[in-house]
Symmetry: C2
Subunit: 244 residues, 2 copies
């Protein structure tokens, strides 16, 4: 590979030129610190749709920051009974739940062509010793994931099917907005079955409620294209009191 091409490739992966730097792990770092961080991350070949980043039970070595595309995390217990525990969008960290047992607790699969930055955890931990901001950011990322998990528990144990879907759409909308995309118009990278599995609903229910939302003028859905027509109403529905 010619030197120029190589340099170009490397440049692409540099945190300082990355459009996600304001959301991603090194967000709090000064320029020179970011260079140190930059030096430990590894480029990965893009994953094609359906390819696994890692599989459940394989040894934990790295966390990954999503650079583009999206992924899902699936945990299998016994035979055939899968639980989809998370979707990951650009700038989000994948694999933190594997630290404790030193193996990944679920398989993470690309939902579309996806690129990630690999961050070897021992290097990251070592670097977090000398960079308090990095350490803090890591603590915050994990803490946030715990908070999000608790929200999900609330959703699964208290919300109706309609509220779950509304929460799902407003959540996605918000995540797109933060990343600089339209919060009103986006494409779902996951199937209806994935959505249902994630929300604890049957596919049929997801489909039906999507239809209902459509006829109520809340969203316009065509296949995986989504247009949010009444974000306000959707938000209210999502937050609605325990309906009793």
């Amino acid at each position: 590979m010619p030197v120029t091409a190589r340099r170009c490739l490397l440049n692409e992966t540099r945190c300082q030129t990355c459009s996600l730097s304001s959301l991603c792990l090194p967000l709090a770092l000064e320029v020179q610190d970011m260079e140190q961080f930059d030096a430990i991350i590894r480029r990965r070949a893009p994953l094609k749709k359906g390819e696994a980043l890692f599989r459940q039970g394989s040894p934990f070595t790295s966390v990954f920051a999503v650079r583009s595309g999206s992924l899902k995390q699936v945990t299998t217990e016994g035979s055939g009974d899968d639980q989809l525990t998370n979707f990951y969008l650009p700038s989000e960290l994948v694999g933190l739940d594997g630290i404790d047992e030193e193996r990944y607790p679920g398989t993470v699969v690309a939902l579309e062509t996806t690129t990630v930055c690999e961050i070897p955890f021992d290097r990251l931990d070592a670097l977090s010793e000398s960079l308090p901001e990095l350490r803090g950011q890591l603590y915050r990322s994990m803490s946030k994931e715990m908070r999000d998990d608790r929200r999900m528990m609330r959703l699964l144990s208290r919300k109706t099917a309609d509220q779950r879907l509304a929460t799902f759409f407003t959540g996605l909308s918000d995540r797109f907005r933060r990343r600089g995309y339209s919060p009103y118009s986006f494409r779902l990278s996951m199937s209806r079955a994935d959505i249902g599995n994630y929300l604890g609903l049957a596919v049929e229910t997801v489909s039906r409620i999507l239809g209902r939302f459509q006829s109520q003028g809340l969203v316009a859905v065509s296949g995986r294209e989504v247009n949010i027509l009444d974000l306000q109403a959707l938000t209210e529905l999502a937050e609605e009191e325990g309906a009793h």
Copy 2:
């Protein structure tokens, strides 16, 4: 307070003499490192049953290690719609989910007389810079909590009421065993309503299924006293395939 009494009180709180040291945060520390850690923790007056350790929304300052007793974490959204997201037993860390937003995302309440060690987070973070084992243990604790949360999501979205209760009992049994108590005979510090809220079930359902377990010879329950008669069967029930 006379010096001797004071010294005695301090001794009680020392990690090196604490019976939980093999489970708690400083578990990986050498003697001299443990002393440093010991120096940052603060004694708290015991909480009485029903007292709050901290309230939802109050500023995050510390994490807490449970020393004796037990607590529940409750998150309120809107009015009256509470979600119980966690029970905490001795050696477990409370409050880690508050790091990110710098406020506690839920109220934590003692279920019985409870003592905790307060660990100011800024001191802990600073100390984790020079003590890699402490840092690692903190990462592992958070990672474990994320894994437990994912298990809870699976429980809430896939398991039947029977399986939820069976999982709850086997989980408690296991936690007691690890702490050196009998895994077969223990006292519930939480009400049926708490259990139901936590597991996403109505109180009536909890009560009914407990009755059924009793008549099936799986457990003997009398008020809050529990005797597990057939842990094997309970475990199988808890892990059972997605019943369809």
